[in-house]
């Protein structure tokens, strides 16, 4: 296992129990499993497939189709760069480049020390504060490219 930590699979069993042989409930089941573990562990996926009576390949088909699902655990801190149109027009692309360069990861990836995950998100709804990034629940609005990296210090 990637993170070397133990996974409590009984949680998966509990989540999937009401949906035995009900393949239509796959997406909500995956959402609950991800909410529990922070991602979709391989072992959990096999249990889901067996209990819901669908092929594992179909579970992966759905899990990889939707942007929400992750097959790898996330970092300790999640940086979300808003790339909605208003933020783009005001320079969020450069902010993201700066972060990618400094962290050495691309959007959707996690640093090797598992400190930071970087995500691009569509409009977070604070266009008046564009360009904006969120680190966990903290909001940094009207952000200048050159101030971006300094904001990460307190999370290191």
């Amino acid at each position: 296992m990637e993170c070397g930590c133990e996974i409590d699979l009984s949680q998966t069993e509990l989540i999937v129990a009401p949906y035995r042989n009900k393949p239509y409930a796959l997406i909500p089941v995956l959402q609950k499993v991800q909410a529990t573990y922070g991602y979709l562990p391989k072992e959990a996926v096999s249990i889901i497939a067996r209990r819901m009576n669908i092929y594992e390949s179909r579970v992966y088909g759905v899990a990889t189709f939707y942007a929400q699902f992750r097959l790898q655990p996330k970092g300790e801190n999640t940086i979300k760069v808003c790339v909605g149109t208003a933020c783009h027009v005001k320079g969020s692309g450069r902010i993201s480049e700066e972060l990618q360069k400094s962290l050495g990861i691309k959007p959707g990836e996690t640093t090797e020390d598992r400190k930071f995950s970087l995500e691009h998100v569509a409009c977070v709804g604070a266009c008046g504060l564009a360009p904006i990034i969120l680190v966990n629940d903290d909001v940094y609005g009207k952000l200048a490219v050159e101030d971006t990296l300094a904001k990460l210090e307190k999370y290191k």
């Binding site: 997406i27 088909g61 189709f65 942007a67 149109t85 027009v89 409009c123 604070a126 564009a130």
Partner: protein
Amino acid sequence: MSKTTVIVGTGTCGLIAGARGVMDAVREETAKRGLDTNLFGSGCIGMSSHEPIMSVALPGRTRVMYEGVQGEMVADILAHQIDKGTPHPNHVFCQMREHADDVAYEGIPYYDDLPYAKKQVRVVLRNCGHINPEDIDHYTAREGYEAAKKALFMTPEAVINVVKQSGIRGRGGGGFPTGIKWDFCRKVEADQKYFICNADEGDPGAFMDRCVLEGDPHSVLEGMLIGGFAIGATIGYIYVRAEYPLAIQRLNIAISQAREKGFLGKNIFGSGFDFDILIKEGAGAFVCGEETALMASIEGLRGMPRPKPPFPAQKGLWGKPTVINNVETLANLNPIFLNGAEWYAAMGTEKSKGTKVFALTGKIQNTGLVEVPMGITLREIIYDIGGGIPDGKEFKAVQTGGPSGGCLPASFLDTPVDYESLIAAGGMMGSGGMVVMDETTCMIDMARFFLDFSQNESCGKCVPCRIGTKRMLETLEKICNRRGKPGDVEMLIELGTDVCNTSLCGLGQTAPNPVLSTIRHFKHEYDQVIEKKVCQYETCPGYKKPAPAGAAAKTKETAPA
């Protein structure tokens, strides 16, 4: 009302700007003063760039609105208004009459007289910013569920007729007449039908539906109730993006309150009609806004579109007849039934009736939501309501319809905003995103931005969309990186036209629009970057600040490969 009312804008825009701290501070301050206050959070009133907005209404007085409020300012503001009897001068920006006999303050403009509000007509957003979305009594106090009460005692045919006569067309972007859609579905015989609300708003730069769901969720439920009755459905689904957690939370509260009151469930209002609503959370796929993909997603599959016909009204969710309407369409129904189809049809143009909500963003003074009668010009929206371009810059273009739409230059500012006129101009109504660009914006980069989005979101099912958008994006990136060559623009036009004509669903059919429209109106920028390898616009990825005089001469012109 004998209590002091304090309203804090707690839509996503307000919360991100710090509304929670304001709520806490109000609670603390009023407790300290021993003041019995009616404090609640409301949805976004539309002025996102002014958030957090706090309103204070003393008994018998007008509601005073303050902008840019933070927790630490609350005590001072309340002290001014309550003790000194005058609104705090630093943050106040307008006052509003909630009741006809409210006594006004002197020297403070009325909300309705603000340039931002003057040309707006609030039908869909009638309650946003005025009511507590988590309290059904606030909604019913403003004629909520009255329309459903009326409709459920009409015949379904009569209900459909009202909708047809109102002339309302789907607000999700397609513009299909809602009444006709309902009529198709009504006429199909089936043991089960479904009514779906499409709340999978995914355009980057569009947040109209989110504000309605967060600020007035019951208006959507009521619209679904009326629609479900008209087509003969007993189950409704709301398909809402997972990225809208606050909207989902408020919808859940609204649904359970409506069930408690008997507005959802069995034998609603004693009419004998049964209807219930379930929420389905999306999982992050833009293409699921397409109706057949949306239904596949509800069924637990990859959200990929299928060819039509059969149309959802014939064979939809689980193979049963289904109507899918957008959030904004549904929020229009209550006023249509209470004020009459004629009232609604009197607004707008000959073919586009009523109002439309736009999310006005980009290089614009007043970022936020605006609701305008159809037929208003782009100029009125951008300059009169939006306050024009900030920092004294020049207007360059406006993108309507998000990644499916087009960029219109200044010469199109007097285009009336309705379905047909926008398409004729090369734009699109779309769901209502409106992004304003100033003179520093690189149009090629803008086209690349939107195409990058569509290409990423292409589901991969059909070849033109999967490969065509990819090739187009590669070419645009080459041009942006100064590696474009003569013939690239012609290739983009040819390929783009093919992708439009041959893609399976709306995503692919409209994905090339931003590219085609920027080529149509700003071809000189493409030519310049391809031939001279320079672009003077700051938002261009390859832009470098102009070097001091003399250095420019050194720029080498590389011959095309």
